[in-house]
C-alpha cells in the first residue's frame, strides 16, 4: 500500500505544517535570546534547524497517538499540539506553565495531547513508548506511539532493548533517530558503530533514512512507518539526518564544529527555506500566504514571551504537592 505523498497535501494542511515549523523556529529563537539576556534559568536545549523532523511526523498523528521526546523537546511539543503560551510559561518556571513550573524545559509534557514528556535521561523515552504502544494495542485504540531519540541516544541500551521488545511484541511503535551529527560535542560519525539502518535490520525492523531538512521526505517516510504500525505490522525505524542551529545547550561555546559547517547548513539546508521553495515553485502555496503564516507565528511567540515574563511564580505551598495521587 502506497501512502499519499506530502506533495499531495491539501493547501490547509500545508499551511498547518508551515505554521508549526515557524512556531518552533520562532519559539526557539526567542528562548535563545531570552536565555542570553538572563531571563530563563536552567538547562535549555533548542530544536531550531530540526523542525521538519517533528512536523513531518506529527502531521500524521492525533491526540490518541503518543510520542516521547528527548531533552531537546520544544519542537516535538509544539508539533504535537501543546499550548505554546503554556509552554513558554513552563520554561520560565511560572505557576500556570504547562507543568505548573515544576518541570521546566527538560520535563515539558502534556499527556492530554499524547506528549509524554521531554526527558532528561538520554534513552529514557523508547521504553515508555513501548508501553504507550502496548496500551494502544491492548485497548485497541488504533493509536501508534513514536519515540524520538538522538544519534547519541541511539547508543543507549534502553533504546536498543526497546527495538527488540517492540519487534517481539509486534507493537505499533516507531523509533525516530534524529541524527543531528553531534551528541553534545561528540560526532555521530564516531559514536555510532555500524549504522542506524543496519541496526534496524539487526532487530528485524524495516528502516529508512531521510533528509531531515526536507519536510516532504520526512512526511513520506513517516506515513510509511506510521501506516505500518496502524496496520498491525509492527515497529519501524526512521533515520533522520538533520542539524541543530544552536549549541548543545544554551551557553555552549560550540568549539567542536566549524563556523563554515554551520553557515553551510543554515544557508543551504534550512528546512523552512526548502519548504517554501518547494511549495512556491510547484505552486502549492504562494509567497504571500507563507508571509502571513510567518507573521502570525511571530506575533504569537512574542505574546507568549510577554505573558510568560509577566506571569507569577508558583507559591511555596506547591513545593510539597503532586508527589503522589493519594497520600
Amino acid at each position: 500500500m502506497m501512502s499519499p505523498s506530502g506533495m499531495q497535501l491539501p493547501r490547509e494542511e500545508l499551511v498547518r505544517a508551515y505554521r508549526m515549523m515557524c512556531d518552533i523556529r520562532h519559539f526557539e529563537d526567542s528562548v535563545h535570546d531570552e536565555f542570553a539576556a538572563g531571563s530563563i534559568p536552567g538547562f535549555v536545549h533548542l530544536y531550531a534547524g530540526e523542525e521538519a523532523s517533528a512536523v513531518g511526523f506529527m502531521m500524521h498523528l492525533n491526540d490518541a497517538d503518543r510520542i516521547a521526546s528527548t531533552h531537546r523537546g520544544h519542537g516535538h511539543c509544539i508539533a504535537k499540539g501543546c499550548d505554546v503560551k503554556a509552554m513558554m510559561k513552563e520554561i520560565y518556571g511560572r505557576a500556570d506553565g504547562l507543568c505548573g513550573g515544576k518541570g521546566g524545559s527538560m520535563h515539558i509534557a502534556d499527556l492530554t495531547k499524547g506528549m509524554m514528556g521531554a526527558n532528561g535521561i538520554v534513552g529514557g523515552g523508547p521504553p515508555l513508548i513501548c508501553g504507550a504502544a502496548l496500551s494502544a494495542k491492548t485497548l485497541k485504540t488504533g493509536g501508534v506511539a513514536v519515540a524520538f531519540v538522538g544519534d547519541g541516544g541511539s547508543n543507549q541500551g534502553t533504546t536498543l532493548e526497546s527495538y527488540n521488545l517492540a519487534k517481539v511484541w509486534n507493537l505499533p511503535a516507531i523509533f525516530v533517530v534524529e541524527d543531528n551529527r553531534y551528541a553534545e560535542s561528540t560526532a555521530s560519525a564516531w559514536s555510532v558503530g555500524g549504522s542506524q539502518l543496519k541496526r534496524a535490520e539487526g532487530f528485524g525492523m524495516p528502516g529508512r533514512k531521510v533528509d531531515g531538512h526536507d519536510f516532504f521526505d520526512v512526511y513520506d517516510a513517516a506515513a510509511e512507518a506510521i501506516g505500518r504500525a496502524r496496520n498491525g505490522e509492527g515497529p519501524s525505524l526512521v533515520h533522520v539526518e538533520t542539524y541543530r542551529y544552536y549549541g548543545h545547550f544554551e551557553g555552549d561555546a560550540i568549539t567542536y564544529r566549524t563556523p563554515e559547517e554551520e553557515e553551510q547548513m543554515k544557508t543551504q539546508k534550512d528546512c523552512l527555506k526548502i519548504f517554501s521553495q518547494r511549495v512556491t515553485e510547484t505552486g502549492l502555496l504562494d509567497a504571500s500566504a507563507l508571509e502571513e503564516v510567518e507573521a502570525e507565528s511571530r506575533s504569537l511567540i512574542e505574546q507568549a514571551v510577554a505573558e510568560a515574563k509577566a506571569a507569577p511564580a508558583p507559591g511555596p505551598d506547591k513545593l510539597l504537592t503532586d508527589v503522589y495521587v493519594s497520600y
Binding site: R66, A68, G97, L98, C99, G100, G101, K102, G103, H107, A109, D110, L111, T112, M116, G117, N119, G120, I121, G124, P126, P127, L128, I129, C130, G131, A132, L134, S135, A136, T138, L139, A145, G157, T158, E161, S162, N164, L165, V168, W169, T321, D322, V323, Y324, V325, S326, Y327
Partner: protein
C-alpha cells in the same frame, strides 16, 4: 476464608483484580512461561510459579512474557500505566534493579511531580527480595531502602499471606507507582486468607502484638521472627509491641511515634544492610519526635555491612536471627539511663 500460601494469596489477588478490571495486565520474564517453546503454554508462571494458571483464564494479551530486557519492559509497564493500563510487572529479583532503575526512579516516580500533578502512573512492580535461599550476593539482597529513599514511589512489604493479598489488591488499585516486595522465603507460608477481594491500607502500620515494655518496629519477613521473640519474652515477663510497618513509603509515622512514647524502649529489626536503611530511618524519626519519652537507646538489628554470602553457615549468621532480636530487646530493657537533663 481458607488456608492459603503467600504464593496463592498473591496469585489470587492478581486474578481477582484482573477479573474486576480489564485494564489490569501483567508481564515479566517467564511470567507465563514457555513463550515460543514447543512445550506447555503455561509452564512456569514465573520462576517460582507465582503467576501460574492466570494465562489460561486471561489470555496472552493480558499475560505477557518478555525478553530479558528489564529497562525496556519495566519502562513499557510505566509507559503503559501513563496511557490507560494498570500493569503489574515482575522484576524477578530486586537484585536486578540495577539494569532498569532509571525507568523506576526517574520516570515512574517523577512524572506526577515534573508534570505538575497531571500524570497518573498506576504501575505495580512485584519483586522478590531477601536472604535465606543460599542464592548468594546477587540474588539475596533486600534493597527496599533504595526505593524508600525515592520520593514518588510507594513501597510495600507484606509479611504474611493475609497481608500479601490485601496489600497487593490495594497496590493494583492505587494510582501511584508501587514497588511490591515479596520475600522468597515466605512463599510457602500458610494462613487463613479471605476468599473475597479486600484491601489493606497503605501508610497504616499493623500491631501484631501489643505490650508495655518494648516496641519492636519491623517489616517483611522480620515480622514473623519478631513475633516469635515477643511470644517467647512474654513468658519471661517482658511485654512487647510488634509494629509491622506494612509500607515503608508512605510510612505510618504516627503509630511508630505513639508506640515509642508508650514503651520508651525501641528495637528496630530490618533485614537489609544497615547504612541509610529503614532501621536508621525509624530510629531517627523517633529520636526527632519522641525523644522525651525514650528511656533507652534505640537498638537496630540488621544484616551487617557486607554483601550476602553464599555458604549456608555464613548466610545463617548474616540474616537477623530471633536470638539477636531477643538480645537487643533484653538490652534495651536492661538499660538504665543516667539523668542528664
Amino acid at each position: 476464608m481458607s488456608k492459603k500460601t503467600y504464593r496463592q494469596a498473591i496469585n489470587e489477588a492478581l486474578a481477582q483484580e484482573m477479573r474486576r478490571d480489564p485494564t489490569v495486565i501483567f508481564m515479566g520474564e517467564d511470567n507465563v512461561g514457555g513463550m515460543g517453546a514447543p512445550g506447555e503454554d503455561d509452564a512456569w508462571g514465573g520462576v517460582l510459579g507465582v503467576t501460574k494458571g492466570l494465562m489460561p483464564e486471561f489470555g496472552r494479551e493480558r499475560c505477557l512474557d518478555t525478553p530479558i530486557s528489564e529497562s525496556a519492559f519495566i519502562g513499557a509497564a510505566v509507559g503503559a500505566a501513563a496511557t490507560g493500563l494498570r500493569p503489574v510487572a515482575e522484576l524477578m529479583f530486586v537484585d536486578f534493579m540495577g539494569v532498569c532503575f532509571d525507568q523506576i526512579f526517574n520516570q515512574a516516580a517523577k512524572f506526577r511531580y515534573m508534570f505538575g500533578g497531571k500524570a497518573v502512573t498506576p504501575v505495580v512492580i512485584r519483586t522478590m527480595y531477601g536472604a535465606g535461599f543460599r542464592a548468594a550476593s546477587q540474588h539475596s539482597q533486600c534493597l527496599y531502602p533504595l526505593f524508600t529513599h525515592i520520593p514518588g514511589l510507594k513501597v510495600v512489604m507484606p509479611s504474611s499471606p493475609y497481608e500479601a493479598k490485601g496489600l497487593l489488591t490495594q497496590a493494583i488499585r492505587d494510582d501511584d507507582p508501587v514497588i511490591f516486595f515479596e520475600h522468597k522465603v515466605l512463599y510457602d507460608d500458610e494462613e487463613e486468607v479471605p476468599d473475597d477481594p479486600y484491601t489493606l491500607p497503605f501508610g497504616e502500620a499493623n500491631l501484631t502484638r501489643e505490650g508495655d515494655d518494648v516496641a519492636i518496629v519491623t517489616l517483611g519477613r522480620m515480622v514473623k521472627l519478631s513475633n516469635e521473640v515477643a511470644d517467647k519474652l512474654e513468658g519471661d515477663g517482658i511485654s512487647c509491641t510488634v509494629v509491622d510497618l506494612r509500607t515503608t513509603s508512605p510510612l505510618d509515622e504516627d503509630t511508630i511515634i505513639e508506640c515509642a512514647e508508650e514503651t520508651g524502649r525501641v528495637v528496630v529489626v530490618d533485614e537489609a544492610n544497615p547504612r541509610c536503611s529503614m532501621a536508621t530511618d525509624i530510629s531517627a524519626l523517633i529520636t526527632q519526635n519522641a525523644f522525651g519519652a525514650l528511656k533507652s537507646p534505640i537498638k537496630m538489628v540488621t544484616a551487617p555491612h557486607t554483601p550476602p554470602p553464599f555458604a549456608p553457615e555464613l548466610e545463617d549468621i548474616y540474616i537477623p536471627t530471633p536470638a539477636k532480636i531477643e538480645a537487643a530487646v533484653r538490652e534495651v530493657v536492661a538499660y538504665s539511663r543516667e539523668v542528664v537533663a
